[in-house]
């Protein structure tokens, strides 16, 4: 074999047989690059516990972990400690407009249906579309919103819903399935704190996170996120 050297992964891969190496790399690639979670039965690298442990080790080297979806599928996401360290550093690849538009989709497609009992569980997957009307706000211009929607779609954070009856509408994208259980809870907590800061449930979240008032600024809420992980 004429494999080229890889400084990060080789120490891990060189101890494996050729066959195990192929299975591990296939499973690693599938969870990293597939748009949706992949079925465990499809790949030996996910089915076999020993090989799956090697996939976990590879992912750990790049700050990621395996995330199980629906008990039968796997994908990868950022590990909680790495996400917390980056949050503490102020790392934020999405612009404030992109985040605002994403949050609006999550509120209309997930948070509201969940509060109405239509959606259960802690997944951020939803078939309830958010219409362009629901995304209108005086703080974001039409052009800014259009560009943000384009970028969020390209990133897989939102997707077009199949329901075109009232013009284009959006649902959360497949990337949301990469959230770890702790990240899903953090996102839920942050939405509650933003949407209903005076509610008893918001009070409970602040008590759990060790933050006192609903008037915290953005920088202290970043620290608070770190504390959760």
């Amino acid at each position: 074999m004429s494999e080229s050297q890889h400084a990060l992964f080789d120490p891990l891969l060189q101890d494996l047989s050729d066959r195990a190496r192929d299975e591990v790399l296939a499973a690693f690639s599938a969870v990293q690059y597939a748009a949706h979670p992949v079925a465990e039965v499809q790949l030996a690298g996910l089915r076999d516990v020993t090989l799956r442990r090697q996939v976990q080790k590879m992912l750990k080297l790049i700050g990621r972990v395996l995330v199980q979806v629906d008990g039968t599928h796997w994908t990868s996401g950022y590990s909680d400690d790495i996400a917390a360290a980056l949050t503490a550093q102020g790392w934020q690849p999405l612009s404030v407009v992109d985040r605002a538009v994403l949050v609006l989709v999550l509120i209309h497609s997930v948070a509201i249906p969940r509060s109405e009992g239509i959606l259960t569980g802690d997944s951020w997957k939803s078939a309830r579309p958010t219409t362009v009307d629901e995304l209108r706000t005086t703080k974001i211009s039409g052009e800014e919103r259009r560009l943000a929607l384009q970028r969020l779609r390209a990133a897989g954070l939102i997707q077009l819903s199949g329901d075109h009856s009232g013009g284009p509408s959006y649902i959360p994208g497949p990337q949301l399935q990469r959230l770890t259980p702790a990240a899903r809870r953090r996102l839920q907590d942050q939405l509650i704190l933003a949407a209903a800061p005076a509610s008893p449930i918001a009070e409970a979240i602040r008590a759990r996170n060790g933050t006192a008032t609903p008037l915290d600024d953005a920088s202290s809420s970043a620290e608070q996120e770190e504390g959760v992980a």
Binding site: S4, L8, S29, A35, H36, L61, L86, P93
Partner: protein, 205 residues
């Protein structure tokens, strides 16, 4: 030899940089930023900054998705986008005996001319919308650097990972595309015309 705590710190350092390039794409950093295992360094032509670009071991990559019949994250207008990337390669990879990075600066005029030539017809008004949309998408994903104001384009740092086999395929592809007209730049190029700057795959001992 490093001590165990140095090794742990080193692993965390690598993992944090890897998480950054996965969430934001290749990153432009100061040249004195220490090496990160598995991230190739692509120096800007003027040497002022360096891009960190993730590399995968051979055997890892998108190929497995075809076997599984599962799609990657969808690209909008995939055919137009691929076509425009091929055109930018033809315009900016002028010295095809060497690496594609950093290449030369091309212009929107060149891209439009090759696009029309590729279609085998005169330019149509809708072409520009498709071309600009594709250039923006390719810029956002770091396949190219698109300066919309100047109407100028370069190859992006991701191309540093093209293997000799990829380059052979692309050389062949360029031969099948119409030759671009000469580039007339609005800015002075700071790119040397020969000898692309040395780039190296950076390792970790």
């Amino acid at each position: 030899m490093s001590t165990p705590s140095e090794a742990v710190e080193r692993r965390l350092y690598n993992a944090l940089w890897w998480a950054k390039v996965q969430s934001a794409g290749p990153l432009e950093v100061e040249p004195d930023t220490p090496a990160v295992a598995g991230l190739t360094r692509a120096a800007e032509p003027d040497g002022s900054t360096v891009w960190l670009v993730p590399t995968m071991p051979s055997g890892a990559g998108h190929a497995v998705l075809d076997e599984l019949g599962t799609p990657p994250v969808a690209v909008e207008q995939p055919n137009e986008t691929a076509r425009v990337l091929a055109i930018v390669v033809a315009c900016c990879w002028t010295d095809r005996s060497g690496s594609a990075w950093p290449g030369a600066i091309g212009t929107l005029t060149q891209v439009r001319a090759v696009y029309a030539g590729m279609r085998g017809r005169a330019e149509q008004s809708s072409d520009l919308t498709l071309i600009i949309g594709s250039l923006r998408r390719l810029h956002a994903t770091h396949w190219i650097r698109w300066n919309e104001k100047a109407g100028e384009v370069r190859l992006g740092p991701r191309v540093i990972n093209w293997t000799p086999a990829d380059q052979a395929t692309l050389r062949d592809l360029c031969r099948h595309l119409p030759d671009p007209p000469p580039a007339i730049l609005s800015t002075t190029p700071d790119t040397p015309t020969s000898d692309p700057l040395p780039t190296s795959e950076v390792g970790d001992e």
